[in-house]
Amino acid sequence: MSTSTTTLWAIAAQVCDPEIPVLSIEDLGILRDVQLAEDGGVRVVITPTYSGCPAMDAIREDLQTAFHAEGYGDVTVDLVLSPAWTTDWMSESGKLKLEEYGIAPPTGTGHRGPVTLGLAVKCPLCHSLNTKELSRFGSTSCKALYQCRECLEPFDYFKVLS
């Protein structure tokens, strides 16, 4: 069995976000590091999107399962807070996958003050830019709730955290 870092990384990158199963933890940018320890154990480093994100526990468990399935026994999953995650770490392919899944990917550089002057959020269904924010807080910590003014469909927007 090859134990190169690339191989280990590929195993870890199979794990998906439990709430957004089209995105791997690599796409999301929360997979920070994978190393083989001298004693043969694997150490994976992940970072949370939001402080209270309950997906972290599921992801930790899924990582252990993924490595166990590949024959690695001793797996440590460490959570680091610093440097703090930002939506800039989301991969371009991840953003495409999000949109195809029906969630508008983060755009622009986030809100500045109480008046939002960000880029328009594109409706993932009809691609109109004529959309409005219904609530800055959505179904999970990382999403806001939007509605398209053209096709009238409500949709999730993965909000910017910069």
Binding site: Q14, C16, P21, S51, G52, L81, H111, S135
Partner: protein, 283 residues
């Protein structure tokens, strides 16, 4: 749960984060990564910040299923979850100094052991009171966590780097609602004035220094140093909402010394009863 039972779960679209597993509590070593266990002063400081966030999280989560509209229900639930996340980080870090887990600190301390400020434990009241409490606290936490990015303690700085981005959203939420209600109808404006009146006495305690800050040095931020900026920012929001900053006196509060209002005991009773009734139980 054994590995064989969950072999199919990774990458499986039916897997859910809401699946509760044993041992969800942050392990002390998760927090320890940044640097070793804190000294006593830093641990006491982390305990204070953690208690504030925990008490607010518990208060806000009471709005779930009671929000004035579904979006607000979700928003307040999200804010509660963020605060709970901050509390978990702070309390896990504090607990390292004393060999205690976040759960030990949250569920097994008595009322007089909590170091939270009185404003955080004030009852939700109507939606106006909750929003006003959010406005006061989110402006405060945003200023405090921003300053703490430069803390000489790497873990405190790392927790705040994460938290400040989230509190930024909480502050926006509170500002927008304050304006909407302040300049909304006669009734909404009356309720916001009422909220200001009942909460204002607890604002003073936010900015009180303690001896602890002498020991903390550059690891902490003296609350008194935030006062001027808080006043300016708070007054600007109220002005934009056609509301006036109260001029009444502050109450004498000693939350940082473990002396609380009648409200904290009730809050803790509800929060702690399950853990105490079934020690060591997991979902």
């Amino acid at each position: 749960m054994s590995a064989t039972e969950t072999t199919e779960s990774y990458g499986d679209s039916t897997a859910s984060a809401t699946r509760i597993t044993p041992g969800n509590a942050l392990r002390p070593e998760d927090i320890q990564l940044q640097q070793g266990a804190p000294g006593e002063a830093v641990a006491q400081y982390a305990l204070r910040l953690g208690d504030d966030a925990l008490v607010l999280a518990q208060r806000l989560s009471n709005w779930i299923s009671r929000g004035p509209e579904i979006e607000e229900d979700i928003a307040l639930g999200n804010i509660a979850l963020d605060q709970l996340g901050h509390a978990r980080s702070f309390l896990s870090y504090a607990g390292l100094a004393w060999g205690k887990s976040e759960d030990d600190l949250a569920y097994w301390r008595e009322e007089e052991d909590f170091r939270s400020l009185h404003l955080f434990e004030q009852p939700n009241g109507d939606f106006g009171v909750t929003i006003m409490r959010q406005l006061m606290i989110s402006i405060y936490q945003h200023l405090l966590y921003t300053e703490l990015l430069d803390s000489s303690d790497e873990t405190i700085s790392a927790i705040c780097a994460k938290a400040v981005k989230e509190v930024d959203y909480h502050r926006d939420h509170a500002i927008m609602w304050t304006r909407r209600l302040g300049i909304g109808t006669e009734e909404s404006a009356r309720r916001m004035r009422h909220a200001l009146e009942v909460l204002w006495p607890y604002v003073g305690e936010l900015f009180e220094d303690e001896d602890l800050y002498d020991e903390l040095g550059d690891a902490g931020v003296r609350p008194s140093s935030l006062r001027e900026r808080w006043d300016t920012e708070f007054a600007a929001v109220l002005e934009s909402a056609d509301l006036e900053v109260p001029t009444g006196p502050f109450a004498l509060c000693r939350g940082r010394h473990g002396e609380h209002s009648e409200h904290l005991g009730h809050l803790l009773a509800e929060m702690q009863v399950l853990a105490r009734k079934h020690p060591g139980a997991s979902w």
